[in-house]
Amino acid sequence: MNALPDSHPLDTARPARWFLRGMRGAVSTPGVVLVATFIGFGGLLHDLGFPILAGLLSTLLVWALPAQVILVGGLAAGASLPALAVAVCLSGVRLLPMVVSLMPLMRGPRPRLLSELVCAHFVAVTMWAEGFRLLPKVAPEGRPSYAAGLGFGLTVLSMAGTAIGFYLTGALPGPLAVALLLLTPISFAILLVRNARRPVDWLAIGLGTSISPLVANSPGGLDLFWAGVGGGTLAFLIARVLPGRRA
């Protein structure tokens, strides 16, 4: 493990070492749960007939499971590409506050735009939670490399999960194959409940859920768009006029 000599603190070998330590940090309980959900995504890819290499590319590049599920599910349902791009874009909004809040911990003492963009790419819910847990323990000069290593480690594990799920579904007996497919909705449902704090969150969950079946076959594959924008806007407006909030 420690093939690199322990020399000067600002040695050029240090970033590689922080990177490797970050990758090792990816192997944890949240990392295991993440891999399980990507095994479910791999099963979904197989179920929908989506090509595996493109599926792996989506894990590497999109690196946000809701967006990936919207993309492959929408394609299978015959949604139009512009409508899908809008739905994917809307689903990614939650990444912005995550990047903004985690960036001070990933930036390090000498900020560089490129390294900030690389670190920001790896930000998704698991990276965000694990970053807050692990990065404060890392020396500030090692944080950008450590964060990149952590994100890369989680990505590699998730790509392995995607491939395993894809090839496993066909080989599993019925009850276990459906169990694999349930991993995606169950992890999203728990994620929603975990992150819901204010009335507007619960309203958005309730309205998004109930509008979705009503618009299930809307023309142009815009059902997610209507459920998301319609339900979200309604939730936002209702929460604004709700009594009992500070004036």
């Binding site: 949240p30 979904l44 179920d47 929908l48 090509p51 493109a54 590319l57 989506s58 590049l61 999109v62 809701p66 990936q68 993309l71 394609l75 590409l81 791009a85 809008v86 874009c89 809307l90 689903s91 909004v93 939650r94 990444l95 912005l96 506050p97 990047v99 903004v100 960036m103 963009l117 920001a120 019925g174 009850p175 194959a177 459906v178 169990a179 497919l181 349930l182 995606t184 909705p185 169950i186 992890s187 999203f188 449902a189 728990i190 929603l192 409940v193 975990r194 507007v200 958005a204 969950i205 309205l207 998004g208 509008i211 079946p213 059902d223 459920a227 924008v229 319609g230 339900g231 979200g232």
Partner: protein
């Protein structure tokens, strides 16, 4: 079937319809992060839309599923997810516990019904 289901076509879709529209928010977070107020009404609306959209994705996966999940009755799909949420709330808000409870309910139900997709 068509170009979109070939590896190359699907990869182009992943890049242009998946990667770019999604990555925009991360890039904006880096470029304007210090100037964006997360508590502003605009950001609150955008967050509510993202939450409703994710809830709609879950509802679509459960209520109008495609593929092997169709073989299960609706009550079992919804019941499994409902018991998963209950498991999460009861067992110290553990995501792992919630997932395991939901899967246990689903596998037991599917086995009992003799599901074979």
């Amino acid at each position: 079937m068509n170009f979109l289901t070939t590896e190359l076509g699907a990869m182009l879709v992943v890049i242009f319809i998946g990667f770019l529209p999604n990555e925009v928010w991360r890039v904006l977070g880096v470029l304007f992060g210090r100037r964006i107020d997360p508590a502003s009404a605009w950001m609150q609306w955008v967050q509510a839309v993202a939450t409703a959209l994710l809830a709609a994705v879950v509802a679509r996966l459960l209520l109008v599923p495609s593929g092997a999940l169709v073989a299960l009755p609706l009550w079992l799909r919804v019941g499994a997810v409902g018991s998963g949420i209950a498991g999460f709330l009861i067992v110290r808000r553990s995501v792992l516990a919630g997932v395991l409870v939901a899967e246990a309910v689903l596998v037991a139900g599917a086995w009992w019904l003799g599901v074979s997709p």
